[in-house]
């Protein structure tokens, strides 16, 4: 196989990357919205909620005094009844009175009123989904004590600025029970009664995205690998390594020994402050880099990364000595790492796929 020619493999990886990135955007949109618009009423926005006793990880929770909102982003709903019902079962787990984080120290409260906001991201059939859910509630197949409120989310490419738009599904839906809030801030007033939509522009959410980086779903290893390569690994180099690079060829590899637990702890304390980056995310990313032939597993939890500039564009010794900018197709790391991974896969001895798998990469490709 020609290196990187498995376009399905590369496309799958890049699609998973993009899906995750958009989920990060959506969560960042809501964090921005509640942080700015509810600044006098927001108790806490939890981007990495965990409900240990129930092993639940919704995409975010919001505590506004005595009103709580559990947010779950869904990219798609299965069409067939059985998997559709299974998806609802997961959401139903959020139905119990849930303790929600009330500050960054980890204190929790169970709010007086709690709603579940199901964010249907770019569905073509959100009204059909709402109808199917209502049917299940009416015939008793689905029992929800807390409200399950459906909100459509999509990216709108409008002039002069593109934006994320959030709009309540107006039929077969339930109201937000946020009457504890001032009238003008009630989601039911804004999204329900007045049928307005919430518009969030990149300038609104960019700061949250930069600071938080991840969301509460497991990221595709490609996403974490790109983050490590562009934001973290360089900071782990010593002065000598950096100096060597500054003067010499930046494509020269520098070996970097990393240990998963300490690297994870460092990211959560110094990079994604207060974040909940899991060791499994880092472990998956390093394993991904191993397949890319950019890391070697030394022992359980320890990898040596061969760190360097992945861009193959030549570099000018000195632009003022006749070096010049290089104009060629843009190379960027998401694409480069995806190609290297797919190329690496073909070199690995791939065990025969289990009988239930449907594709050649299913056992190895990151699954959202």
């Amino acid at each position: 196989m020609t290196p990187g020619s498995d376009s399905d493999c590369v496309d799958d990886l890049k699609r998973a990357f993009s899906v995750y990135d958009q989920t990060v955007d959506v969560v960042s949109c809501w964090q921005s919205y509640f942080t700015w618009a509810y600044k006098d009423h927001l108790t806490f926005f939890d981007r990495y909620p965990e409900v240990p006793q129930a092993d639940l990880t919704p995409d975010f929770t919001v505590l506004l005094g005595n009103y709580g909102l559990v947010g779950e982003v869904k990219r798609s709903f299965p069409r067939e009844d059985l998997p559709f019902d299974r998806t609802l079962e997961q959401i139903q787990h959020y139905d119990a009175p849930m303790s929600i984080k009330s500050n960054s120290d980890g204190s929790r409260v169970v709010p007086e009123t709690q709603d579940i906001m199901l964010l249907l991201f770019s569905p073509s059939d959100s009204y059909a989904i709402a109808r199917r859910i209502r049917e299940r509630i009416e015939d008793g197949r689905l029992s929800v004590q807390n409200n399950l409120v459906l909100v459509e989310a999509f990216f709108e490419n409008t002039e002069p600025r593109s934006r994320y738009v959030f709009r309540k599904v107006h039929t077969d839906n339930r109201p937000f029970r946020d009457s504890l809030l001032p009238k003008e801030l009630r989601l039911e007033e804004v999204l329900g009664l007045h049928k307005e939509s919430i518009k969030v522009y990149p300038e609104h959410f960019k700061d949250f995205k930069v600071k938080e980086v991840f969301c509460n779903d497991n990221p595709p290893p490609l996403y974490t690998a790109v983050y490590l390569w562009t934001k973290v690994f360089f900071t782990l180099l010593d002065k000598e390594q950096i100096a060597t690079w500054r003067k010499g060829n930046p494509r020269r590899s520098v070996p970097l020994l990393v240990e998963i637990p300490s690297l994870t702890a460092q990211i959560n304390s110094a990079f994604v402050r207060g974040g909940s980056v899991r060791t499994s995310w880092i472990s998956d990313a390093l394993e991904f880099l191993r397949v890319c032939d950019l890391a070697m597993k030394e022992s359980p939890g320890k990898f040596t990364v061969q760190y360097h500039n992945l861009s193959s564009h030549s570099y000018a010794d000195s632009a003022r000595e006749g070096g010049s900018d290089v104009t060629q197709a843009t190379e960027e790391y998401v694409d480069t790492l995806a190609r290297r991974y797919c190329e690496g896969l073909t070199k690995e001895v791939v065990p025969p796929p289990p009988a239930t798998t449907t594709g050649p990469h299913q056992t190895r490709l990151p699954v959202e």
Partner: protein, 372 residues
């Protein structure tokens, strides 16, 4: 030793108390008598005492000796270039240069009357090797225009362009420009959406040239002849002030290591430069073409979010397109003037020239999220 100091030494054996103004007087008189005489200068930003950085920084292949004077320094500089494609495997370039600090914060100028080989192969390369503590500065076409307008206003003379090099943002190749008033050059560049790279000019009064000089957007100036006073009293201070303001804006932008707070910048355009999807690709291509850097494109269309890493010093930036006339640059925990100069100049050259501004601290209300 510099030729100018040697000349002064013939008049007064003890040269230790020499002042920069003494050097400029000698430059004036040599320029008057020697038509081949030329002073080359390079202005740059330094994060600390540049004279000490030059003295203490050990760079392989360079030898440097400092001499102290009243308000300036001179350096004897030797560079040994070892390369297999050079006859004999090595070549030595040596000479002397002067250094002084401008009144503007962080701005220094090195100058020499040695030839072009010493200037580019030894002096400029030596300064470049002191990165990222020392950073080349850049002026946009608009800043160059303002510089010439100020020079005209202050001197009462008119700036005429003898030769200029103008580049298109998108196409290879330069556009020559000859013998026109400076304003015609800048109007032309603005109309054609080109950028001005280099200008050889004369300052003219009643048809008589009072200064013949050269300026480039990357801080290089030449004094060819005329009255050095115009150059030292008007051109250089105005240049220093302009680049000082730009550099100061780029300084200290790294994220707060305690709070994690952001210190973003914005590149703002007078007109809309992001109207079509290919404009995003154009920006991404510009970012991806910068040497010694890495780029990851997280979101390509319709809004751009890219992560940029400078392999020279580890500076990182998140770059967003946040409007049709606005790019937001959010520095990470490592950010240097050097790297931001590199990044913004790359955007200005390969994409479009804009103005770097402080990105105002956001503050939004409910209506900002509801308004159509």
């Amino acid at each position: 030793m510099m030729r100018e100091i040697e000349t002064l030494g013939q008049l007064r054996p003890d040269t230790s108390g020499l002042q920069l103004s003494d050097v400029w007087s000698v430059v004036d008189s040599i320029a008057e008598s020697d038509p081949r005489y030329k002073v080359r200068l390079i202005t740059f930003h330094s994060g600390g005492d540049c004279s000490e950085i030059f003295r203490r920084t050990h760079i392989e292949g360079f030898e440097v000796v400092r001499h102290d004077f009243s308000d300036f320094w001179t350096f004897d500089l030797t560079r040994t270039v070892s390369r297999s494609n050079i006859e004999g495997g090595r070549r030595v370039v040596s000479g002397s240069f002067g250094l002084f600090k401008a009144n503007s914060t962080g701005i220094w100028t090195a100058f020499t009357s040695e030839g072009p080989d010493f200037f580019s192969m030894a002096l400029t390369r030596f300064i470049e090797e002191c990165r990222p503590q020392i950073s080349f500065v850049h002026l946009t076409s608009d800043q160059l225009r303002q510089l010439f307008e100020r020079l005209e206003a202050k001197s009462g003379c008119e700036v005429w362009v003898r030769k200029a090099v103008v580049y298109s943002h998108r196409e290879e190749g330069e556009i020559g420009f000859k013998k026109k008033p400076a304003r015609v050059l800048f109007n032309f560049a603005e109309r054609e959406d080109d950028y001005v790279d280099k200008v050889e000019y004369v300052l003219q009064s009643n048809g008589e040239a009072t200064l013949h000089a050269f300026a480039s957007r990357d801080g290089v100036s030449y004094f060819f002849g005329g009255r050095m006073g115009y150059f030292t009293d008007m051109v250089l201070p105005a240049f220093a002030e302009e680049v000082s303001q730009s550099s100061e804006l780029l300084a200290g932008r790294q994220r707060d290591s305690e709070s994690g707070g952001l210190n973003p910048l914005a590149i703002v355009y007078k007109r809309n430069v992001f109207g079509r999807p290919e404009d995003n690709s154009h920006l991404i291509r510009a970012l991806g073409n910068l040497d010694r850097s890495g780029l990851a494109v997280l979101h390509r269309n319709p809004y751009v979010h890219a992560a940029f890493l400078d392999f020279v010093d580890g500076s990182t930036f998140d770059i967003f397109v946040t409007g049709q006339n606005r790019i937001s640059i959010i520095p990470g925990y490592q950010s240097s003037v050097y790297s931001l100069e590199r990044l913004t100049e790359q955007i200005f050259k390969d994409f479009h020239e804009g103005k770097v501004e402080e990105d105002s601290q956001p503050s939004y209300t409910l209506s900002d999220f509801l308004t159509e």
